[in-house]
């Protein structure tokens, strides 16, 4: 039968392959007989096109590289095999060396005989044989390599930032200040995110509003920033350098141009609604509202489901009192299309729902509060003007228990550490004590106060006389066992330092709830074609060396969307993402690895098997010609469609069928001699 290996396999004549075997000091030579391997390659792979085989102490050293470059020039090598360490380490090195010698870098292939041979095997004979097999595989493969050119794409200087929390704000300002346009899309009516809800920030205790509001305002007024609040991204097409993003601008029912933000409408609106977002369910807002007086933009939205007018068709109080007549009951959602070159996702986090741990009583016992509720309670602009009171709205607590790690570091809920809870709890301990003089207990597993000035803050809180009980709280109950427990909340805990069970009666319990990914993070990830961890946090390109980029070119992540972190870290990551984007913009264009799939149109029968397989939407189907096409800039080179095409009409550069099939043959030309191994 027609075998495309045979057909397309280049005739032996035209290959001039150089094989370079590295000793890596003794790392390889200690186990693999590199000299024998080199000789073997020179002799028995001659008929496969090998014209020269050398071994050298350190191939990656400049003399080593010179060796290769020299041979390319003098012997006119047109293929190079380097048998050394993992390609992840030095592929770039050797490809560059080849390029320097005028050989297309993609005609160089690395064979790993260190990580995959010398370091994992002890039997010298077997290891040497395996090294030979690996090289023979490499040689067969490289014969089918073709020169490749990186794909160059232009970069649209505009940037989309999703999420108007502190991370998104930071990125937006950095890029806008650098003179490039930014679209900032925020789901809520105002930017500011969680930070806007806080009162003080640890460890310095400076007022959150004081440091955030100016930034919010400069975003609101910046000429280079188009602010799209009360909006959500619906669809992302295109690829790095040239994304086309569909945004739904939800109807505010208010004409933003005419509205002056005077706030009379909110005053006059008769409908009181519990504010579950900004006030964390502790306060009320009207049916027409801005989350807070500092909102940016300072333009209200009408909460349609709660508005009397939409319910009954009457009221219109807001409309009546609105001087500039900015109320638009008939306003519709708008669909906008933005063209941007890069995207930064800063979609933030959600608070762990403490009701999921019923034995802590949140939602059942009135005086159990969550951390976010306390942020609002302590906030001077909050529902109680900063008075820390119990659920009845007036009584001041005399004893307060703060429970750490609620929903974090707990295999029933989330295994991970939410990072901020320790410091946040210490902050509460300080604030509550300061405002109420109450005796505060902290119930912790470990105190994690790493980073600048954090532990000092811990010391300070200790000195203020806060009690620290090390142990996981079993339950919070209102069932007394004796008279001095009556009417209190009793915290049942094992004090692991004393080594006994304790029951500590308090007036108020604060649950330091953990951070969770946004409920819809997985859908968001799908929309933007990036990946999510099992928990739902966005996955960065590399956990250490590239925590900013994602596997999808042109999409960056910042803030808690990538994982729990505090304000300084979010700001840093926001700025870093901005820097990366600016770098791209400055280059005006970028080169993409040419490992890509492409369709041979005359072979494509338009069966559409491949159409649903690409998570990066690189595959499009042309109904008119009944053929499929792959957008090389969108393609990330995974090769799934290549493997799936029943007609063999899709080819993948860098990892073509010919290359892999040849490598298989090469690897299997050598068979293991039993005695060789047992020897």
């Amino acid at each position: 039968m027609t075998d495309n290996i045979e057909n397309t396999s280049p005739s032996d004549a035209q290959e001039k392959i150089g094989v370079y075997v590295c000793h890596c000091g003794t790392n390889i030579a200690g186990v693999v007989d590199v000299v024998q391997v080199a000789n073997w390659a020179a002799q028995s792979l001659k008929h496969r096109g090998v014209v020269i085989a050398r071994e050298y102490k350190f191939m990656c050293s400049s003399p080593g590289q010179d060796l290769i470059e020299k041979d390319i020039k003098e012997l006119g090598l047109n293929r190079v095999i380097v048998a050394a360490c993992s390609p992840h380490l030095h592929e770039k090195t050797f490809r560059t060396a080849c390029a320097n010698a005028g050989l297309n870098p993609y005609l160089c292939e690395m064979v790993s005989i260190r990580e995959q041979v010398s370091w994992v095997h002890t039997d010298k004979v077997a290891a040497t044989e395996k090294a030979k097999a690996a090289i023979s595989g490499g040689v067969e493969r490289v014969r089918h390599h073709v020169p490749l050119q990186p794909i160059i794409v232009p970069i649209n200087p505009a940037t989309l930032i999703v999420g108007g929390g502190i991370a998104g704000i930071q990125s937006a300002l950095e890029i806008a200040d650098a003179g490039f346009h930014v679209y900032l899309v925020e789901r809520e009516p105002s930017i500011g995110g969680h930070m806007a809800q806080f009162d003080k920030t640890f460890p310095t205790l400076d007022c959150s509003a004081c440091i955030l509001t100016p930034k919010m305002n400069s975003v609101g007024t910046h000429p280079n920033i188009t602010l799209l609040t009360w909006s959500e991204v619906e669809k992302v097409d295109g690829y790095v350098g040239n994304f086309s993003v569909t945004v739904r601008k939800k109807a505010r029912k208010v004409d933003e141009e005419l509205c002056t933000g005077c706030g009379i409408c909110q005053e006059k609106c008769p409908k009181k609604v519990i504010d579950n977002v900004f006030e964390a369910g502790l306060g009320y807002r009207k049916a027409i509202y801005t989350p807070s007086p500092q909102s940016v933009p300072n333009r209200p939205v009408i909460d349609v489901p709660n508005c009397t007018y939409y319910e009954k068709g009457t009221c219109k109080a807001c409309d009546i009192f609105c001087a500039p007549k900015a109320i638009r009951f008939d306003q519709e959602d708008q669909i906008l299309t933005l063209n941007v070159g890069n995207i930064i996702l800063a979609t933030g986090y959600e608070l762990f729902d403490a009701r999921r741990i019923p034995n802590y009583g949140y939602g059942r016992l009135p005086n159990v509060f969550t951390s976010l509720e306390i942020e609002r309670l302590t906030n001077a602009a909050g529902p109680t003007n900063g008075n820390v009171v119990m659920r009845d709205g007036k009584t001041t607590p005399k004893t307060v228990g703060i429970i750490h790690c609620v929903g974090s570091r707990d295999k029933n809920y989330n295994n991970y550490c939410s990072v901020i809870c320790c410091m946040q709890s210490l902050k509460f301990a300080h604030l509550v004590h300061e405002r109420t003089g109450a005796q505060v207990y902290n119930f912790y597993i470990d105190i994690r106060a790493a980073f600048k000035d954090y532990d000092e803050f811990y010391q300070r809180v200790l000195d203020e006389g806060t009690m620290f009980v090390r142990g996981k709280v079993a339950e919070v109950t209102d069932v007394p066992r004796n008279e001095n427990e009556r009417g209190k909340l009793i915290i049942q805990v094992e004090d692991t330092l004393v080594g006994k069970q304790r029951r500590i009666p308090v007036d108020m319990v604060i649950l330091s709830a953990g951070l969770e990914p946004r409920k819809d993070s997985k859908e968001v990830a799908k929309t933007f074609g990036i990946s999510c961890s099992v928990n739902g946090w966005f996955i960065e390109k590399h956990p250490k060396l590239d925590p900013i980029a994602t596997m999808t070119e042109g999409i960056f992540i910042a803030g808690c969307a990538q994982g729990p972190k505090d304000i300084p870290a979010s700001v840093a990551q926001g700025a870093a993402a901005a820097a990366r984007v600016l770098g791209r913009i400055e280059q005006k264009e970028m080169a993409l690895e040419p490992v890509r799939a492409s369709v041979i149109e005359e072979k494509c029968s338009g069966c559409r098997i491949c159409n649903g397989l690409c998570p990066f939407n690189a595959i499009t189907f042309h109904e008119d010609r009944m053929v499929t096409e792959i957008n090389p800039a969108l393609c990330q080179g995974c090769g799934t469609c290549v493997a799936a095409c029943p007609a063999g009409a899709i080819t993948g550069t860098g990892f073509s069928n010919d290359q892999i099939m040849a490598q298989i043959e090469g690897l299997l030309m050598m068979n293991i001699e039993p005695e060789a191994v047992t020897a």
Binding site: K603, C607, N657
Partner: protein, 336 residues
């Protein structure tokens, strides 16, 4: 008369459909007669092997060889005709890729003989089995010995052109006849050696008129179990249609008639293993992520090996199942 180039056609392990197909080109057959001197065509005219053996090497211009190599006689004639012919064409699915006779490669030759001579469908009360040789007054007579593994033509001899189909469609045969005649008259060039003639380079879907969308398969159905939408791609309806992987050239006969393609035209241009393509393609569009769920869906694919290799088994990478190979190895030993 003698000036006319010589033509031969041979029937090895096959059903004879290919021969019918050639006759089925109607008056075009006259062109063949007009332009060729038919020297060897057992089905159509009497001829003896010794006559062929007597011919000069390369004296036959064109030989259409259909059928797979099932016994040593097939093998002998294949080699003989190779020697005598300038152009040897693997004609029809059997010679190309083994076809239905090739399915016997799933069992060993012993089982095959058993099935033929000792099953309920065979009226053989005295259990009479064929014998390789038998001596009678006139002397010892031999019958061909069956090979353990059916081979495709190009697994035993070098083949110039491949003409797929079970059988090749008559309009395709006509086209090829026209081409050859033109070549004889110096009006056309022969395609490069080794290429596939009388077929398209794409797949059946190319010629199929059914509408198709992005595919996600929740369950596989058997054609007789459902009433498929006549206008919609069968595979999308869960009917395992081999069209996407099968070489075009038949005008999508089966899908047009409402039956799924079973793949008689073999793999598309450049494909190494026909079945593997289908395994990959079908699995790719299954709509499930949990192993159990996937298995549940795959249970709907009865006999995947048969589904994917009905025509292509002998021509596939694995070529035959384990039992056949075992027989082969013992066979080799006997030879030695």
């Amino acid at each position: 008369m003698t000036a006319k180039p010589k033509f031969a056609m041979y029937w090895a392990a096959s059903c004879g459909g290919c021969e019918i197909a050639v006759l089925n080109i109607h008056e075009k057959i006259l062109d063949v007669d007009a332009n060729f001197d038919v020297v060897f065509w057992p089905v159509a005219m009497d001829a003896k092997y010794k006559d062929v053996e007597a011919m000069e090497d390369g004296s036959i211009l064109l030989t259409l060889f259909n059928g797979g190599i099932r016994n040593d006689e097939n093998e002998h004639i294949a080699k003989l005709l190779r020697k005598k012919s300038k152009i040897l064409v693997a004609f029809g699915s059997c010679a190309n890729e083994g076809c239905i006779p090739g399915l016997a490669n799933l069992s060993n030759s012993h089982e095959i003989v058993e099935t033929a001579f000792n099953t309920i469908s065979t009226d053989n009360p005295n259990k009479v089995y064929p014998m390789a040789s038998y001596s009678m007054p006139e002397g010892e007579i031999h019958i061909p010995t069956i090979l353990p593994v059916l081979k495709t033509l190009d697994q035993v001899v070098d083949v110039d052109y491949y003409m797929p189909g079970c059988p090749p469609e008559s309009h395709q045969i006509e086209a090829v006849v026209d081409l050859v005649v033109k070549v004889l008259q110096g009006k056309a060039q022969l395609p490069p050696k080794g290429s596939v003639i009388g077929a398209g380079n794409s797949t059946v879907c190319d010629e199929c008129q059914r509408a198709r969308n992005v595919k996600t398969i929740k369950s596989f159905e058997r054609i007789w179990g459902v009433a498929p939408d006549p206008a919609l791609c069968l595979l999308e309806q869960g009917i395992p249609c081999n069209g996407p992987a099968t070489r075009s050239g038949c005008n999508a006969r089966c899908p047009t008639a409402g039956a799924q393609c079973i793949g008689c035209y073999g793999p598309a241009e450049g494909v190494v293993d026909y079945g593997a393509r289908l395994v990959s393609a079908f699995a790719s569009v299954i709509d499930a992520k949990e192993p159990e769920e996937i298995d549940a869906i795959l249970d709907g694919l009865v006999d995947p090996t048969g589904q994917f290799y009905r025509f292509n088994l002998a021509g596939s990478l694995l070529r035959a199942a384990a039992p056949a190979w075992k027989a082969e190895s013992t066979h080799e030993k006997e030879k030695a």
